[in-house]
């Protein structure tokens, strides 16, 4: 048994399968950042830090005849979203009920996906820097109307080209901006979504949690997401009525090339 203590939970194998499948189904659409950045791992729960390949000088050394340096690393962060499910609902699922209430799991999946997106794009104060705060470019205003989005997106792409950052490019859109894009057509009826795809030559990604949008290069090597333990469901406790579980992951995130992203403000 590992630290997730799954075997201790009062859940059947079919019950665990149901929860894992439900979680995957909810998480995959919402994990926008993972669709745009490099992913390495998972390296395991014991993996605690990412190597930065850098050193810092130390004020002294054990003897005068030697010099000393210390390696610098980035500690991994942990995200955890707790939820509780009705044991009665899970028993019904075991009986074959197709509509068991897994709402709390769905909400936890949405929360942890949003938290991951925010950490990657906006940063996590005191823990890791996000793409937006590391970007080397001045933010570009998106403007209120989605039919005008092609202009700032093209401006973002042009900034990347000027910086020598090649494509293809991807666009992370916040919930509100994504909704506007998919429901809007330009004059003449051409969908904004299609126009943006032509500009970017890459994906447009629904990224709950971010405000506005970010244009990023997808050439690789610029944005590094290092997974320790990938998203997993663990067991916390239970009583006669509910089983308390949690979604958890550990990761670090680094921006290797600040020139490879442009933020578009709402």
């Amino acid at each position: 048994m590992n630290h997730l203590l799954r075997e201790k939970a009062p859940l059947s194998d079919a019950g665990w399968q149901l929860l894992d499948d439900e979680a995957r189904e909810r998480l995959a659409p919402a994990l926008g950042a993972r669709k745009l950045v490099d992913f390495s791992g998972p390296h395991g729960w014991e993996h605690s830090a990412s190597s930065l390949g850098r050193v810092k000088k130390l004020p002294g050394a054990p003897t005068e005849a030697v010099t000393g340096l210390q390696r610098e690393v980035m500690p991994l962060v942990e995200l955890r979203a707790d939820f509780a499910l009705s044991r009665e609902e899970l028993r019904d699922a075991d009986r074959g009920a197709p509509d068991a209430d897994l709402g709390p799991l769905d909400e936890a999946a949405g929360e942890i996906a949003m938290a991951e997106n925010i950490a990657v794009f906006s940063g996590w104060a005191g823990a890791l820097p996000g793409i937006a705060e590391r970007s080397a470019h001045e933010p570009v205003p998106l403007g209120p109307s989605a039919d005008a989005y092609p202009r700032p997106v093209a401006s973002g792409v042009e900034k990347l080209l000027c910086a020598g950052v090649s494509g293809p490019y991807g666009l992370a859109l916040g919930r509100e901006q994504y909704r506007r894009v998919v429901e809007t057509a330009e004059m003449g009826g051409y969908p904004v979504l299609e126009h943006l795809r032509e500009i970017l030559e890459g994906p447009i990604v629904w990224t709950p949690g971010i405000q506005g949008a970010v244009v990023v290069s997808l050439r690789g090597g610029d944005f590094l997401f290092e997974s320790g333990q990938d998203l997993s469901i663990g067991y916390d406790s239970h009583d006669a009525d509910v089983v308390r579980l949690y979604l958890q992951e550990s990761f670090s995130f680094r921006v290797a090339t600040p020139e490879a992203a442009v933020t578009l403000t709402p």
């Binding site: 590992n2 992913f39 333990q229």
Partner: protein
């Protein structure tokens, strides 16, 4: 010729077990090819031919590792043993004995076919948008 990677009647095997057997057969073939190239390299004196064969052997290294990785991903108990042996410092035999004992204790192996680390197995979603 035929379907001799199967040791039991194929029609009695599940699709997952047939795939597993095919991957095991591929793994064996890649290992054989690595050995053959090693022997050829040992006797070849033409430097151009050596360069080509060395490159070809590198391909077989890659194929072997890809087969092995997929098999380990799909077989948690095997992976658990492998994690105790591969890339570990120290005595190989001793590591092997300890890894085998740990796996046989049933510690965290889970059902074969699940993800070895009990995660949801989501990983990278590049290309999924």
């Amino acid at each position: 010729m035929g379907f001799d990677q199967y040791h039991e009647p194929p029609e009695e095997l599940s699709a997952a077990t047939r795939t597993f057997a095919r991957l095991c057969a591929s793994l064996t073939e890649e290992a054989e090819a690595i050995g053959w190239y090693q022997q050829r390299l040992a006797v070849e004196s033409d430097p151009e031919a050596v360069a080509v064969m060395r490159d070809a052997q590198g391909e077989e290294f890659k194929h072997f590792c890809m087969d092995l990785e997929l098999l380990l991903r799909r077989t948690p108990s095997w992976r658990e043993v492998a994690e105790g042996i591969l890339f570990q410092p120290g005595d190989v035999v001793e590591n092997g004995e300890q890894a085998e004992a740990g796996a046989l204790d049933g510690a965290g192996a889970g059902a074969d076919g699940a993800y070895a680390d009990s995660s949801l197995g989501i990983g990278s979603l590049r290309g999924a948008a």
